[in-house]
Amino acid sequence: MQAMEAGDREIEFRLDAFARTRLTPDPQAASRIRARIMREARLQFEASRIAAHMTTAVPVHQRRPLARRLAMPLLAASVWLGIAVGSISAAQPGGPLYGGRLWVENAMIPASGAARADAELSRLDSRLAEAYSASIRADPTAVKAALDAYSDIAAAAAAASLGDPAAEATVAAALNHHTAVLSAVAASLAAKGNDTAATALEASIQRAIEHNQAVIDRVEEAGGAGSGNGPSNGPTTNSGGGIGAGAVGSSSPGGGGDAVGSGPGANPQPDKTPKPTQAPKPTQAPKPTPDPQGPPDHSPHVTGR
């Protein structure tokens, strides 16, 4: 055993001698290898650093977590939604932006003609619907705002329709229908009780009804005066007013037709055709409605057009 160990040591000794003598690089070779390797290492490490810098600098936004990537669009959407909801809410009757909304509507309607009349009637429908909705909510401020706007639009529509018999008739018919709706709403409110809100609502509605009636009267008068421009042989100045009044009343045949074609002095009698019977004024409508619990039959969205 001892001999074997001695033999092993001798073998190790000779192998080591062999390696050191014949396998060891000379110092110059070692220096050359080291210089090349270190140059390569520096280049490679520098390239890695640049690559790492590029990957962290350029696509940093692409590698953010999903939640962080969605946070900004969600926040923007929330802000937008908040603004939209707030704006819509503020633009409701009685809201701070309601006036602005009406101004924008007014600015966008056609300048003149039948298109403008149609647009004004559409706006009237909208205001009436708003007033109706507000009355259901028992919101007197909103009802008043909507009906004030309604009155202004009705006056503007009437003014815009002057000189156009067809438009005048359309406006008058729509206002008559709206008056009936408002009367029904007022009656419904009165039946529910006489609390403060209902009283305020009723007051607004009554004012609107009266204003409507005044506008209708003006339209009728203007329609009669406009028709009088035709050839007339009688002393009356209202001989040609049948078109407008008849259309507004819609239940009367009107009466101005026979004035046309008559020669001067042919019919000295004043026009016996009575002024068409108008619908009873809403103020005269009986307040207690037959069915106080039920909603009015008239939908505010249905116009007389």
Binding site: A3, M4, A6, G7, D8, E10, I11, E12, F13, R14, L15, D16, A17, F18, A19, R20, T21, R22, L23, T24, P25, D26, A29, A30, R32, I33, R34, R36, I37, M38, E40, A41, R42, Q44, F45, S48, R49
Partner: protein, 202 residues
């Protein structure tokens, strides 16, 4: 320079982080052993130099993918060296004949001593050439490259016990061929202490 395994792992970690100085330390620790191992397998010193450089460049490129996982860095590095030698021999059809390796080291010894040493070294080279390929590789890695049995096993892709067996049988074969068996008449001379400067590079 002696660096323990923990220090090597630290240097490797720093080199992976792009520290050129750490990689230089690794080179200094391993390059001579790598060169010895390669030189024992190739014919020309210039090939050994080129292959040594090639191995360290490969290590540099592969370093980011190196994970210790209990594998010694030396074993990993020598596996690269072994593969480089195999590729070299395969492409150049060049076999290292150990008995034809020139002697690079020159000492101050006198002509007689040099002649004796050269004869002994030639005998070692011839004995190594007669080993099986695995035995020879195990001997080269263990004694020329200075790897541990575990590192040698990692470099050769074998079990540590297998490497120990190859080493044992290789040493036994060398002993027989070099006349160092216990039964050999030359062995009696070995029991006497050897002069300190009797070998090699003087």
């Amino acid at each position: 320079m002696t660096i323990d395994d923990a220090a090597i792992e630290r240097l490797v970690s720093e080199a992976k982080d792009g520290d050129a100085w750490a990689f230089g330390m690794i080179f200094d620790h391993y390059h001579e052993r790598i060169y010895r191992f390669i030189a024992s397998r190739v014919h020309r010193p210039s090939d050994a130099e080129d292959l040594t450089q090639h191995v360290f460049v490969k290590a540099l490129e592969a370093l980011p993918r190196y994970e210790s996982r209990g594998i010694p860095f030396g074993g990993w590095l020598f596996r690269l060296a072994r593969n480089a030698v195999i590729d070299h021999v395969r492409t150049r059809h060049d076999h290292a004949e150990l008995d034809s390796i020139v002697e690079w080291a020159h000492g101050d010894a006198g002509p007689d001593e040099i002649a004796v040493v050269r004869q002994e070294l030639n005998a070692v080279g011839a004995a190594l050439a007669n080993l099986t390929a695995d035995q020879r590789e195990a001997i080269e890695l263990r004694f020329f490259a200075g790897l541990s049995a575990r590192e040698t096993a990692e470099a050769m892709g074998k079990q540590e016990g297998t490497v120990r067996g190859l080493q044992f049988r290789g040493i036994a074969a060398l002993r027989r061929q070099l006349g160092l068996d216990a039964d050999s008449p030359e062995f009696a001379d070995l029991r006497a202490p050897r002069p300190a400067n009797a070998t090699t590079d003087g």
